[in-house]
């Protein structure tokens, strides 16, 4: 007899699930949590490097600092500031001093990172054995619990696992519980005797808990979680104690405690982020289980008997509170939203990493190659590329979130997905994270004059830098809003198209889309940084580095300069335009992938679901009437038929009172048509091609009238009184505005996008045309080359120039009806006045 009777708490109503809004399928997307796990691991590695560097600096002692100061003084350098660092004269000298100063600490950093990696690896390898020992677990045999292994094997099959995990148990455990662990394909699930006993007495409850564990395996949580935990524990036992011990032993006063306190705060932040991610993965596991069987049958009942999580533990617990988990079973919408605080945290982590990683790797590179001065290619490549990788990783996470939010908005009949809120929270985190990390460097010199010598920024510069950082943060928010808005627009275009595909490929499409976005981002940012951004980066200070990367990515998008940028631009356009083309191909609508429902195999494989009324009950009847056929019309092998039948029966029980969820949505509200399908890209592109070709010919016909002036301007020579750039801009605008007007009037909606596309295509044509022209005429004077290139550049980045054309057209199109109405009104009034005059 069980010691507790939980049936009294099981008041979960089946109607609540049957009547709830059809749930969105969160598994149709790339999980943003994977990237967040990666961010945490990199974050810990970065912290380890910094902390061991500080340990090294403390151990090496004052002599090293004094020799550094003496080196600076010998070169007449007042301070080690960013200004001196990148100055052409003082930079190389300062780097020479810095290498001598940093070399001893770099040894500590290398050792610390190796120690972290070794400890993490050891913990990862040992953890399964440790869990097994702690649980006093042994393998389950058929002799122990008759039939249990077969049941577990069936559940693993239902979960769709390629490899059945090893099932262990501790027969003496009196509380029903289980845990999955292991890694890299060698997974294990351990359970207590109480849970095994439930397989005999409460099979639904047992299935729910076991499926939850198997869902962790199916979702790929186990290896990632074990790795993240191993790195975190290695950090706790290696880096953190060493840093705190050395800090407290060698501290010179209260001010020296600020940095350890800050690092303790960052460690707590990492812990909270990690546990937040773990809680999200628990929600995904619950939702996965609810997609395999009727929620109220087991999982909801089990959740309702779980012990509540105390309020003070909610941030620390790896499990969400049971009521929240129950809510997620009814509606998965919260999984598609990204809270402002989450965005802030992700941004802060990305910003701090963007600062830490280049500092670490730049130091290594400088010490290794003994690069002197700001001209060192390798050092600066690392300094710029490493934050770029981190930032792109963080931005990809934000991109996935934007895509998911937009998907939810479209499916729920809304247009906006809160991109603005997330963008500014993310950018605020990006700005505040580095500021927080640099706070001791910025604040301590205010209290201690000696420290001012080694400050990143001179104290008196704070009053100038902080407002500049704030303005950068604002620009950053604008840039990220535009970037995420573009992703959301593409998602808005893709979703209705995907809903009409017979075989949905949301995960691949999102992956390809993000890859396109990254392919666009990385070269553009790289190009801009190498050619123009470096001075701005330097002058922007530490905070400005992150801000500038984003802002320049926006500039690079709008004003590309060369062939690579043109290709990137085409990639940018190809992504959202693809659904416009794909929407032309009719396909049997399945829509099943978008909704979390039962059974997924039917909605994927059935060619003509719309024919049969599409309710689960109908399908159940169709299948159950013909159970003996070797292969049914769904293409399912006979071996799978019984499993599908059981799924259909469950589906019929769950959703029989209502129509198929996707169909119900379809009946109540027609799905939005893809907005870019109305763009008529062929017409716009043709217009761009013709416009570009015409412009190329026209510019060639100008001959050598302008190139000399342009050449003078480019070479830094004084212009001969002719406002060359103004003339160039006017010429470009004259070309673009007609194209924009034509493009705008070509379609009734989406005029701005249409115009930009046409102008972009024209610019790309011009760029390629001028290149071809010079290839075909090698002896031609290169004096005319810059004019073509610059004008085509302006034309390619024609968003700004398209605006007046579009606005003019809009005004014209809006004014015409008003004008006609006004004329008609005047005529009517005249007719009305005529009789009165006559009388």
């Amino acid at each position: 007899m069980p010691l507790s009777n939980s049936s009294g708490q099981n008041d979960v109503k089946a109607e609540a699930f049957a009547q709830s809004w059809p749930r969105l399928n969160p598994f149709a997307f790339v999980a943003d949590t994977d990237l967040q796990f990666a961010v945490i691991v990199v974050f810990i590695a970065g912290m380890t490097g910094v902390q061991w560097g500080m340990v090294g600096a403390r151990i090496v002692g004052v002599e090293n600092v004094d020799s550094f100061a003496a080196c600076l003084q010998s070169h007449l350098i007042d301070q080690m500031s960013v200004f001196a660092m990148y100055d052409k004269v003082t930079g190389p000298l300062l780097f020479q001093c810095f290498i001598g100063f940093a070399s001893p600490t770099l040894q500590y950093m290398s050792a610390g990172l190796l120690l972290l990696a070794g400890a993490a690896l050891a913990i990862f390898v040992v953890t399964p054995a440790w869990i097994r020992h702690r649980w006093r677990a042994c393998e389950i045999t058929d002799e122990d619990v008759p039939g249990l292994l077969q049941q577990l094997s069936c559940l693993a099959g239902q979960a769709g696992l390629r490899h059945t995990p090893v099932f262990l148990w501790n027969p003496l455990g009196i509380v029903p519980a289980s845990v999955s662990f292991g890694g890299f394909g060698r997974h294990r699930v351990v359970m207590t005797g109480a849970l095994a006993f439930q397989s005999l007495t409460e099979p639904d409850a047992f299935r729910a808990v076991m499926l939850h564990e198997l869902a962790h395996l199916r979702n790929g949580d186990v290896t990632k979680t074990m790795l993240a935990l191993a790195v975190w524990r290695a950090f706790l036992i290696t880096s953190l104690p060493a840093y705190f011990a050395v800090s407290f032993v060698t501290n010179d006063g209260v001010l020296d405690l600020i940095q350890p306190i800050m690092f303790a705060g960052i460690a707590v932040m990492i812990l909270l982020m990690r546990n937040g991610l773990l809680r999200v993965r628990e929600l995904y596991a619950d939702v996965r289980v609810s997609s395999w069987e009727c929620p109220e049958q087991g999982i909801a009942r089990q959740l309702s008997v779980l012990a509540p999580v105390a309020k003070w533990r909610r941030l620390l617990s790896p499990h969400p509170s049971p009521p929240r988990r129950l809510d997620l079973l009814r509606s998965t919408d919260p999984l598609f939203r990204f809270g402002s605080w989450q965005a802030l945290g992700l941004g802060a982590a990305t910003g701090v990493l963007a600062l830490l990683i280049p500092a670490l790797f730049g130091g290594f590179m400088a010490a290794r190659s003994n690069v002197v001065g700001s001209g060192g290619f390798g050092t600066f490549a690392v300094l710029l590329a490493s934050p770029l990788v981190v930032v792109v990783c963080g931005l990809s996470t934000a991109g996935i979130v934007a895509w998911r939010s937009q998907f939810q908005a479209v499916l729920r009949g809304r247009r906006s997905a809160g991109v603005l809120r997330v963008s500014f929270a993310f950018s605020a985190g990006l700005s505040l994270g580095p500021v927080g990390l640099l706070t001791p460097n910025l604040v301590l010199p205010l209290f201690d004059a000696d420290l001012a010598r080694y400050a990143v920024l001179p104290p008196e510069m704070l009053a100038y830098v902080l407002p500049a950082a704030a303005s950068f943060a604002f620009l950053l928010g604008c840039a990220i809003t535009i970037y995420l808005g573009w992703i959301a627009a593409a998602a808005y275009a893709w979703t209705p198209v995907l809903l009409r595909w017979h075989r949905p490929g949301a995960v691949p499409v999102v992956t390809v889309g993000l890859a396109c976005a990254l392919a666009l981002m990385v070269p553009l940012v790289g190009i801009r940084i190498w050619y123009t951004a470096l001075p701005q980066l330097v002058r922007g200070g530490s905070v400005g580095i992150v801000a500038a990367v984003y802002w320049l990515s926006l500039l690079g998008t709008l004003f590309p300069q060369n062939l690579v940028a043109c290709v990137c631009l085409l990639v940018l356009w190809a992504w959202p335009l693809a659904p416009a083309v794909l929407s032309k191909f009719s396909s049997a609508a399945t829509r099943g992938w978008a909704w979390l429902q039962l059974p997924a195999a039917l909605t994927f494989d059935r060619p003509d679901r719309s024919r049969s009324g599409s309710s689960s009950a109908d399908l159940s009847g169709e299948l159950l009437d013909r159970p003996d056929q070797g292969q049914d019309d769904l293409g399912l092998a006979s071996g799978h038929l019984s499993r599908v039948q059981s799924e259909v029966e469950t589906a019929a029980q769950c959703y029989a009172p209502s129509a198929h969820p996707a169909d119900r949505v379809h009946e109540e509200r027609s799905l939005p048509s893809p907005p870019l399908a109305q763009l008529r890209p062929g017409r716009a592109a043709l217009l761009g091609l013709l416009g570009g070709a015409f412009a190329s010919l026209w510019l060639h016909s100008l001959g050598d009238q302008l190139p000399v002036e342009i050449w003078r301007s480019r070479a830094g020579l004084p212009a001969s009184g002719v406002p060359v750039h103004l003339r160039m801009l006017v010429a470009a605008m004259l070309l673009q505005i007609p194209i924009a007007i034509l493009a705008t009037t070509a379609v009734p909606r989406l005029r701005f996008l249409h115009a930009v596309l046409a102008i972009n295509v024209a610019g790309v044509v011009m760029t390629f045309a001028v290149r071809l022209y010079f290839v075909a005429h090698p002896n031609l004077s290169h004096g005319s080359f810059p004019i073509f290139e610059d004008i085509s550049m302006v034309v390619v980045g024609g968003v700004a120039a398209a605006l007046p054309g579009v606005v003019a057209t809009q005004i014209l199109l809006g004014a015409l009806p008003l004008l006609s109405r006004w004329i008609a009104g005047q005529a009517h009034r005249a007719r009305r006045d005529e009789p009165s005059n006559a009388t």
């Binding site: 007899m1 069980p2 010691l3 507790s4 939980s6 702690r134 649980w135 006093r136 042994c138 002799e143 122990d144 619990v145 008759p146 501790n170 027969p171 003496l172 455990g173 009196i174 509380v175 029903p176 519980a177 289980s178 845990v179 999955s180 662990f181 359970m191 207590t192 005797g193 109480a194 849970l195 095994a196 006993f197 439930q198 005999l200 007495t201 808990v209 939850h212 564990e213 962790h216 949580d221 186990v222 979680t225 935990l229 773990l278 628990e282 089990q302 959740l303 008997v305 779980l306 012990a307 999580v309 533990r313 617990s317 790896p318 499990h319 049971p322 988990r325």
Partner: protein, 151 residues
Amino acid sequence: MNEDERPEIELAREVVGALAPAELPLFPAMQRAFDADPKGRGIRTGTGDAILGFGMSDAATLLTPIVLIAAKQAVTFMALEIGKGLAKEVASDISARVRRLIRRDPDREPFDPALLAQVRSIAESVALKSKLPKKRAAALADAIVKQLGPK
């Protein structure tokens, strides 16, 4: 002793059969686990908020492990108490027998001469350790043996 004949196991099986008969199919497996973990340390396994677990559940639903531990403690206690009674009985019987030997009662049990030789050796060594002359020590040992030995 056969495993099944162990009193605590027998008692536990009876109790589980009466209170939670549904758990009987798992009894042998739990008994084996209990033998490997006789202090029952694994009984509270899974009560924490384990990462990648299902969640915190504090309601015990299995009786057998608790019964096994309780039965073992009950049987141990009973054995101790029974042993205490037996020890008292045996101690008083021994005293009576020794007393009869010393008093040279007619119904006293004959004492083995080899044992008497050992008694003599013990008495002599005690006397020698007390710095008694060898001759007197031998006399003391002989007197004791004479008192305990046959008339």
